[in-house]
């Protein structure tokens, strides 16, 4: 290929009417006209590459932005919030000079196309987001949703996804401390892979994606750039350069966790030696995104020699380099006198690093290729000033009919019903999945799956740090069936459950991240679900006093006209002042009193009972009661600090019946309980919110009851732990062996 084919800025001036394949890059005619107006000429093919990816739904949030603003507008006042939305990840003050940063992000579409690499690179991407805040990544979690468990394609997708997370995450040395695995027919062609990472840093160490200081160098480091995930850019390359070898590019990225591990250790040493002015990871939109965002948030200009980018495939064209989503790459802004020290550290970790440009005060992002200018744009127009759509939305036509309550027939046999639910794929043990993840590495895991929330001790995470007894807790939750029935309440119930799960370990909930998985925003009914979910989540965050620090939106999770159930997944981070006082999962000893905190109403809309036994989704989800959730969390946090509780388990899917079974199985300790109400079926299987099961030493029961009274939390003594059966007086008795077999055999039988 010779230089005469290069689409330079000069050539764009000279050939103003040359047609560019903007539509094939997903750009609308009016968006293309806007680019022409910004530049005062037609874009070069490289500029078009940048604008098309930066203005994509994925990068620009053009359909969701108008709604997401509520998270900031309604944010509760929180002294803990150090960095809010808009950066790579939010940062929260967790005390003793420490800060935590966390975020959840989707990798749904790649994980359907190529489950192993799609899921693996999802982990890699979120870990780099956390690193780019200046933090050491300390744990990951995954929230996964698949089609029906018995579907042949679920076997392909689930095995690949779990294998990919296992391979990449284990090799990185990050403990996997929890998450979700959910099956529902609506996810068959659209699995959800939402990966969360949490990192830790000193409060004074926060790094931002910014490129200030003219003359500072721009360094690209990590893996070489290849043809991964280019997809659309090949259209440009082939259209402009008539080279057929560029028309077949892989659409999915391939990960190298070993390089990512080196990159982590390398970055941490760079941060420790204070050699970085600004930093950004290269994820979606690769070099395009990193250069435009760094430049836009810094002094405003940047000059880049694009031909200096180290390539894995030397035939790559500039448009492809700009759009490549090759993994394990970072971009740093470094003061000139620090460049040698920066390079030394990269060499020590065998991480390739190249100075590809420098910060300028020109207000322009200028890129050259063999000395010729191929990009000359105001970076903010690509990074921040993308199109914003107020998509039309309205309530789905069938919503009212869907919300009509149905009286489901009651089961004759409560014992058989409990076992049927406990062995159903959504409630069965997820050991088949979680045993493929390393939950121990780095030696700071205090709680992991199947605990309600994962917990990490922070004192030993980084050498030379301020001593602290603190720990952080994390939980993710979501329920697409609840959200389908009522997206406003569904989002609030997801938050309520994650918040409750964190509190159930004794940690105080502090902040929220979210991954909003929906169908097409161009469908007004889907857009209504989205608008309602965001409104619900923002309102609930305000009431619970936990700000949203960041997150991710995934649209277009639909096949044809069939969208997934709206699935807002919510992650909550909490802090516990003394990790040694964490509440352990389930019944931890014999002779403890079993106590139910919270009230139970007859609520079966969207429940596991309705799903498993009747395959019915109708009515309304359980009533949201944020005041009760808040009071319950206060009781749990106080009781943990006072050492009153020997065990806990939150009530959610499957209600009290499943909570009792899981609490017994946690340590193999049975129990004998009497139901608190008059209706055994409702007591056992209703999914009312704001409830937790706790185990307390008999002599501490009085103190717990008093604490509950003070916070107006209903408190019911149900019975005692002990024995080798789950006994519900006058209702059922199930030996633990039978419970365990039922709970544990389902996934291995399906997935091998």
């Amino acid at each position: 290929m010779s230089a005469r084919h290069l689409d330079t800025v000069k050539r764009a001036h000279d050939t103003p009417d040359e047609a560019l394949p903007y539509a094939e890059l997903g750009m609308k005619p009016d968006e293309y006209e806007r680019v022409r107006a910004i530049l005062g000429r037609r874009p070069t093919s490289s500029e078009l590459a940048i604008y098309s990816v930066m203005w994509s739904e994925h990068c620009s949030y053009k359909s969701s932005k108008v709604h997401l603003r509520q998270f900031a507008a309604k944010a509760p006042v929180s002294a803990a919030l150090l960095v809010g939305m808009g950066e790579n990840a939010g940062v929260v003050d967790i005390g003793d000079g420490w800060a935590a940063t966390f975020k959840i992000e989707s990798h749904n579409h790649p994980s359907y196309v190529e489950p192993h690499q799609g899921a693996a690179t999802g982990v890699g991407g979120i870990v780099r987001d956390i690193m780019s805040m200046g933090a050491r990544p300390i744990a990951v979690m995954d929230s996964l949703r698949f089609g029906g468990a018995a579907e042949p394609d679920t076997r392909r997708v689930l095995s690949g996804v779990v294998g990919g997370i296992s391979h990449y995450g284990n090799c990185l040395g990050l403990p996997n401390i929890g998450g979700e695995v959910v099956f529902d027919p609506c996810y068959l062609g659209n699995p959800l892979v939402n990966a969360l990472c949490v990192g830790l840093l000193r409060k004074d160490q926060i790094k931002l994606a910014t490129a200030p200081g003219p003359g500072n160098r721009v360094v690209l480091f990590g893996a070489r750039t290849g043809a991964d995930g280019i997809g659309g850019a090949s259209v440009l390359a082939s259209a402009t350069f008539e080279d057929e070898s560029h028309t077949k590019r892989p659409a999915v990225q391939v990960g190298d966790p070993f390089m990512e591990k080196l990159l982590i250790e390398c970055c941490l040493e760079l941060f420790e030696k204070d050699l970085v002015v600004g930093i950004q990871d290269l994820g979606a939109a690769g070099v395009s995104c990193a250069t435009t965002e760094l430049a836009a948030k810094g002094t405003g200009g940047m000059a880049v020699d694009l031909d200096l980018v180290p390539l894995r495939d030397p035939t790559l064209r500039p448009e492809e380099i700009l759009m490549s989503e090759s993994q394990e790459r970072m971009m740093a802004v470094v003061a000139p006198h620090d460049v040698p020290a920066f390079m030394d550290i990269c060499a020590r970790w065998d991480v390739p690093a190249t100075v590809i440009g420098e910060v300028t005060d020109s207000g322009r992002l200028v890129m050259t290729w063999n000395g010729e200018v191929i990009v000359d744009i105001p970076p903010g127009t690509a990074a921040d000033e993308g199109p914003v759509y107020e998509r039309p939305y309205h309530e789905p036509a069938g919503q009212h009919a869907l919300n009509v309550a149905v009286d489901l027939p009651r089961p004759d046999d409560l014992r058989a019903t409990l076992l049927r639910l406990l062995g159903s794929p959504n409630l069965a043990s997820k050991e088949w999945v979680t045993s493929q993840y390393d939950r121990y590495v780095r030696g700071n895991t205090v709680l992991a799956q199947p605990a309600d929330a994962g917990m990490i001790r922070i004192s030993e995470v980084m050498p030379g740090a301020t001593p602290t007894r603190r720990g952080i807790a994390l939980a993710t939750d979501g329920n697409g069936r609840y959200a389908k029935l009522d997206p406003y309440a569904g989002a609030q119930l997801a938050l309520s459950e994650a918040y409750r799960n964190v509190a159930a370990t004794g940690a105080r909930p502090l902040a929220v991240t979210n991954c909003l998985n929906f169908g097409s925003p161009e469908d007004p009914e889907v857009m209504w679900q989205f608008a309602e979910a965001v409104r619900g989540l923002a309102d609930a965050c305000r009431t619970l006093g936990v700000p949203v620090t960041g997150g991710n939106v995934s649209f277009y999770n639909q096949t044809g006209v069939n969208a997934i159930n709206p699935t807002p997944v919510v992650g909550v981070l909490g802090v516990i002042d003394d990790v040694a006082k964490r509440i352990r999962p389930g019944f931890t000893a014999e002779g403890l009193r079993v106590v139910l905190l919270g009230d139970t109403a007859e609520e079966f809309g969207g429940s596991e009972y309705a799903h498993v036994v009747h395959q019915r989704l109708a009515g309304l989800p359980p009533r949201v009661d944020l005041v009760a959730e808040r009071a319950l969390a206060s009781v749990l946090v106080s009781a943990a600090a006072d050492g009153l509780l020997e065990g806990s388990h939150d009530l959610s899917d499957g209600g009290l019946a499943i909570a009792l079974a899981e609490a017994c199985l946690a340590q193999g300790v049975g129990c004998s309980v009497t139901l608190p109400g008059h209706d055994a079926f409702v007591d056992l299987f209703s999914e009312s919110a704001a409830r937790v099961l706790v185990a307390v030493r008999p002599e501490a029961f009085g103190a717990l009851a008093e604490l509950c009274a003070r916070h107006e939390v209903p408190c019911y003594g149900l019975g005692t732990t002990g024995g080798s059966s789950l006994i519900v007086e006058e209702v059922m008795e199930i030996p633990l062996g039978e419970l365990r077999l039922t709970h544990e055999r389902t996934l291995p039988e399906i997935f091998g």
């Binding site: 296992s166 990185l172 040395g173 190298d256 045993s435 121990y440 780095r442 001790r457």
Partner: protein, 224 residues
């Protein structure tokens, strides 16, 4: 007492190994793969991880690291060495121990708390246990299936060099349920389970059995 902990590119459990050494009352000395220097340590811990990404074969590249040029002759001369997980794989690749670790029988990575039977309480790293004692240690590996030629197995079994055997189920298809072995002198021990993840009440497996490894080596070094 100074116990070296080697970090290769991709080593993951080095911090955990160093913590376990410190908890036992010894000094943990970081050793870097690219250095030709054992820093005068009294014993060496090769921790787990995915050194060099497990590319080629687990441990196959690490075996050629500069630090191994020092470690291999020192170990042959009696320097006590413990290799866990990837460290065990490296010891086999370096021919300090016989046999090889291959892909788990079930083809999946397995992380679980595993019962292990101590078969030889006479090595430098197991004297704090008793023969036949069952201990609980976490395993976490995808390539932990121990294999060796029949004559090697025969020699290991006959000379008491099988140090640990899986109990209550073989998690990876290892021959003869072998979880760990030693050299003839009993100074070099390799095993797939992770003693460094069973030394604290708060974290790791619900067991403190890993402490025995460090108590054993400290006792040996004190009396040496």
């Amino acid at each position: 007492m100074r116990v070296g902990v080697v970090t290769f590119p991709g080593t993951l459990d080095d911090q955990d190994a160093a913590r376990a050494v410190r908890l036992a009352g010894a000094e943990a000395v970081p050793l870097w793969h690219a250095d030709h220097d054992l820093r005068g340590v009294d014993a060496v811990f090769l921790p787990g991880g995915f050194s060099y990404g497990d590319y080629l074969r687990c441990g196959a590249i690490s075996r050629f690291a500069p630090i191994m040029d020092e470690l291999i002759p020192a170990a042959r001369d009696g320097l006590p060495v413990l290799g866990t997980c990837n460290g065990f794989q490296i010891l086999c690749e370096a021919h300090l121990l016989p046999g090889a670790l291959t892909r788990n029988e079930g083809l999946h990575y397995v992380c679980r708390d595993q019962r292990v039977r101590v078969e030889n309480a006479g090595t430098a790293w197991t004297s704090a246990f008793t023969k036949g004692q069952e201990i609980l240690l976490p395993i976490k590996h995808g390539e932990g299936r121990y294999v060796a030629a029949p004559e090697v197995l025969h020699e290991l079994e006959g000379s008491g060099r099988v140090v640990f055997r899986y109990a209550g189920g073989n998690p990876n298809g290892s021959m003869n349920d072998i979880a760990g072995i030693a050299n003839a002198a009993g100074t070099i021990v390799g095993l797939m389970p992770h003693p460094e993840h069973a030394v604290e009440e708060l974290t790791g497996a619900p067991s403190l059995d890993g402490r025995g490894f460090f108590a054993s080596i400290l006792a040996k070094l004190v009396t040496a």
